[in-house]
């Protein structure tokens, strides 16, 4: 389902020198598999998720998702691909403040195929326990509720891969577990690959498969 081969990524620093961030020989996740990625701050976790989502292109290597080689696609095609195949949950939720909870879920559908399935959006919000918050704007929701809307939004287009970048880092501990459970439950239900980045040992401890980026990213292996 998801496979990375010989993926490298470096950034150019303002002084012109290159900053090598990623060098991953091989990484694979099967359909429905749930993987936690841990690693120190700055070790390239977000960059990895960006590469998988097609938000940025690796310097070399292949990123295969559902049969597509993402890096070879044009930017517009990668956008289209991301809308259709990838769900993304951010650390800071990133709900759009101008739109209601329901509209935040539907807006991703608009970008995918132009048609917004209101019933599915409502169903997803119900599943995360927000059926009474459909018309609320993000500012009117608690942080826990906001992240649940973000989870529903990430699932809106029936993605193949769900990327969650420290989704519980900004949430009080009471709500943390709820969000993790919802993410896991939804991915199980729809057979979605879940890649979850976290710093929390409690969260990581719940998953069968935990990948330490320091071990799979050769940039860091060399450095240490």
């Amino acid at each position: 389902m998801l496979e990375l081969r010989q993926v490298t990524k470096s950034f150019t620093l303002p002084d012109g020198s290159p900053l090598h961030v990623l060098d991953i020989e091989h990484f694979e996740a099967k359909a429905g598999e749930q993987v936690v990625i841990v690693g120190q701050s700055g070790c390239g976790k977000t960059t990895l998720l960006h590469v998988i989502a097609g938000i940025c292109r690796p310097d070399t290597g292949r990123v295969l998702i559902d049969g597509w080689d993402v890096p070879v696609l044009s930017e517009a095609d990668r956008d289209q691909f991301r809308a259709a195949k990838i769900g993304y949950v951010f650390q800071t939720f990133n709900l759009l403040p101008a739109f209601s909870a329901l509209e935040n879920v539907m807006i991703g559908m608009t970008f995918a195929d132009g048609r917004a399935d209101r019933d599915r959006a409502r169903m997803l919000l119900e599943r995360v326990g927000l059926n009474h918050r459909l018309t609320h704007k993000p500012a009117q929701l608690s942080v826990g509720e906001q992240q649940r809307v973000a989870v529903a939004r990430a699932l809106a287009n029936r993605p193949k891969v769900l990327l969650a970048d420290e989704p519980t880092a900004n949430i009080d501990t009471g709500n943390q577990q709820q969000v993790i459970d919802m993410l896991r439950g939804a991915c199980e239900d729809e057979n979605v690959v879940l890649l979850l980045v976290t710093h929390s040992p409690e969260v990581a401890g719940q998953f069968e498969r935990v990948e330490r980026l320091e071990e799979i990213n050769r940039v860091l292996v060399k450095r240490s």
Binding site: I86, F90, N94, A98, I107, T110
Partner: protein, 467 residues
């Protein structure tokens, strides 16, 4: 959810900024609408087609002034032509080419409204607009023999309170300040509103007009100013009786025989000319300020040569009002309106630039939102379109508001326009050019929205997400 709706939500989220921006555009558009409607109104009222005559004959001088003073009651009359010249048109050399000639004498006013000495033909034969005969809302036209009868325009009736049977005293001069008073006239009829300058004039029998002028400072003992009170009425009526007695020595037109004297005949009314009292009336100086001439269509070629012949001679000039007005428009008035229109359009453009600044400023805080949309799968073109649509929605909203405001403004001003120009305007008087506004605004919005939209297009997802 359509892109339109996404754009609309973004605008709603920034209500205050969006509202103010739309308001500034609406003010510009309202001004454009105002200028265009006024433009059309002035245009229509001046270029109004035939009023039942095609030539104005008057003293030599400015052609335009002759038209303005005769048709629009503006400015001073330029001079006089002797009555004999009028007879040339009705009975003399030019008679075969002339179907109808209506004399006008100017020089008096009543409470600032012009008093025009003329004949009943003015209302029996002429039209106030193409195909529209004069109608009376009260009373009737004055008769040929009723020397001291008058017909007053609708505005004059409303403003002065004169009713049928009331009397009034014209003062000498075209404006109210010139206060010398003449003998009273009786209102025989009140015209229905015509939407022409004639709503703002009083028409008296030319015979009476001549007579009061022949008598010079006839009634200096009369009260000088103010609304005619009932006592004043009585005094005026008394003076009228005195005057009637005074005038009794002169031949009454009903008694004075002569060709074309059959006043009672309805069908041949246009053949009437004021009576030529050329016997035993040395003090009665007869002249006219202008003659409205309807040429004889049965003698087209010769009739068309008529103005040329008249203009070659030293006695008078003949002008075609339509031609003069068109010239006036293409000259001064048209240019003033063009300048106004340019200003109004400039205001819209300034408002458009304001819109650009407003959207542009919002872009710095919206980079993050745009990056989120991109992360959700929106393409560069999609986020660019959303910003452009916002710009278009803003200007269309502002435009719609501006149309409302503009027409509301026209509606509010309509009574005062009517008052001052006699032109009837309606709030919902749309101009075809307003249709250009919509595509024009969309074009402006696209240009104005392009720069912010480009910023949206160029937003890099990875960089802006982490902001």
């Amino acid at each position: 959810m359509s892109l339109w709706k996404i754009a609309l939500r973004s605008l709603q989220y920034r209500r205050l900024a969006s509202g103010l921006t739309a308001l500034s555009i609406s003010l510009g558009v309202a001004l454009v609408v105002g200028v265009m409607v006024i433009h059309a109104v002035v245009d229509q009222s001046f270029k109004r087609s035939a009023q039942g005559y095609d030539l104005i004959v008057g003293a030599k001088g400015s052609r335009l002034e002759l038209v303005l003073s005769t048709v629009y009651h503006l400015g001073k009359p330029i001079g006089k032509v002797p009555y004999d010249y009028f007879l040339e048109l009705t009975e003399g050399r030019f008679a075969p080419e002339v179907d109808l000639a209506v004399p006008c004498c100017l020089g008096d006013n009543y409470q600032g409204y012009r008093v025009v000495g003329t004949t009943p033909d003015m209302f029996n034969e002429l039209e106030y607009r193409d195909g529209e005969k004069y109608r009376f809302q009260a009373g009737e036209n004055f008769g040929w023999g009723e020397y001291y009868d008058a017909v007053i325009g609708a505005t004059v009736a409303r403003k002065t309170g004169l009713k049928v049977g009331d009397t009034f005293q014209p003062g000498h001069g075209e404006t109210a300040e010139q206060g010398e008073k003449h003998s009273p006239f009786t209102v025989a009829g009140i015209l229905a509103p015509t939407g022409t300058p004639n709503d703002r004039a009083l028409f008296v029998n030319i015979e009476g007009f001549w007579e009061i002028h022949a008598h010079g400072h006839y009634d200096e003992e009369q009260p000088a100013e103010g609304e005619p009170s009932s006592q004043q009425h009585a005094a005026e009526e008394h003076a009228a009786e005195e005057h009637a007695a005074d005038a009794a020595g002169r031949p009454d037109p009903a008694e004075s025989g002569g060709a074309g004297d059959s006043h009672a005949g309805a069908g041949d009314a246009h053949s009437h000319a004021p009576q030529a009292h050329d016997h035993g009336e040395p003090q009665l100086e007869r002249h006219v300020t202008a003659i409205l001439v309807r040429t004889n269509t049965k003698r087209m070629t010769r009739a068309m040569a008529l103005p040329k012949i008249i203009n070659q001679e030293a006695d008078a000039q003949a002008v075609m009002p339509a031609e003069e007005i068109t010239r006036l428009f293409e000259g001064i008035v048209g240019n003033i309106q063009k300048v106004l229109l340019v200003f109004a359009v400039l205001i819209v453009i300034v408002a458009g630039i304001g819109m650009m600044v407003s959207i542009y400023n919002s872009m710095s805080e919206r980079r993050h939102e745009i990056a989120v949309m991109r992360a959700l799968g929106a393409r560069r073109m999609t986020v660019m379109s959303i910003i452009l649509l916002e710009s278009i929605l803003l200007s269309l909203g502002g435009g719609a508001l501006g149309l409302l405001l503009g027409h509301g403004l026209v509606g509010l001003l309509a009574p005062s326009i009517m008052e001052n120009t006699g032109v009837v305007v309606h709030a919902l008087q749309f101009q075809p050019i307003e249709l250009v506004l919509i595509p024009g605004l969309i074009a402006m919005a696209s240009v104005v929205g392009y720069l912010p939209a480009l910023i949206a297009y160029r937003t890099e997802v990875a960089d802006s997400l982490s902001e």
